[in-house]
């Protein structure tokens, strides 16, 4: 179930802190990315997926083992993974049985551009969010913020 809430910035900070507290107490995994329209390296899935994956890898040996597997099948890192492969890697981590909750936090999704490319970088990020949400996995908690722009609203709202 998707929940859509209009809340102030201050309220969002409290959410992150609450989740972070859980992570620090060793009761959750957390990874986040803040999209940034002033930083070309933080505007698309090539920013989002590697960032989330590497943060998770640093928190769990199981996650590390999963990425090692992909590294091996990509000629020990001499080839780059596709977006599809990166998403599958993240899904593999989410599906590890018997683990702590995973919180993925994505801030300012509207700062991904939607004016270039078919699909645009924002379209691709939204597709990732949708696919992760569709897993409906009890261990996965997705949180993201954005302006209520029409393409984001259309993609996310039921």
């Amino acid at each position: 179930m998707t929940r859509v809430i209009n809340r102030s910035a201050a309220q969002r900070s409290s959410i992150i802190q609450d989740i972070e507290n859980g992570s620090n107490a060793g009761s959750a995994f957390i990874a986040y990315l803040f999209f940034d329209n002033k930083d070309a390296s933080k505007q698309d899935t090539r920013a989002l997926l590697p960032s989330l994956i590497v943060q998770l890898v640093h928190q769990s040996d199981s996650f590390c083992d999963i990425l090692v597997g992909y590294h091996t099948t990509h000629q020990s890192g001499s080839r780059q993974p596709s977006d599809h492969t990166l998403l599958q890697c993240l899904v593999d981590m989410i599906l590890v049985p018997g683990q702590l909750p995973i919180y993925l936090i994505i801030d300012a999704l509207d700062e991904c551009p939607n004016t270039t490319g078919m699909p645009s970088p924002r379209d691709k990020v939204l597709a990732v969010v949708e696919k992760l949400a569709e897993l409906n996995h009890p261990n996965l908690h997705l949180y993201f913020t954005s302006r209520p722009e029409i393409d984001i609203r259309t993609s996310i709202e039921p």
Binding site: Q11, S14, D18, G22, F34, G77, Q80, L142
Partner: protein, 96 residues
């Protein structure tokens, strides 16, 4: 091995935004802790999968988020344990 993996994927570093914002706007910590007691939030936290927070873009948003992340990191570094799920006074103090 983790260093090799990180080099392979070369992810952007989210802490760059955090550090820059924190230095530019010190003291913009979060408030409204009451929200984490709402049903919408607790339901999402318990069962997921997706919570979308939307609103007019406000630069202080990320600053506040990141200020709280830093606050939490300092808690971890000090070795103190904090409760999850329960928005205790300790949480509030750590963020202000």
């Amino acid at each position: 091995m983790r260093q090799n993996l990180e080099k392979w994927l070369s992810p952007p570093d989210p802490s760059v935004n955090y550090n820059a914002a924190s230095e530019a706007h010190p003291g913009l910590e979060g408030t409204a802790v009451w929200f984490i007691e709402t049903t919408a939030f607790t339901d999402w936290k318990a069962s997921g999968p997706l919570l979308w927070i939307y609103g007019k873009r406000n630069f202080s948003l990320s600053l506040r988020l990141q200020a709280c992340l830093r606050s939490s990191a300092s808690i971890a570094g000090s070795g103190k344990s904090v409760l999850r799920l329960v928005p205790s006074q300790t949480h509030r103090d750590s963020c202000y």
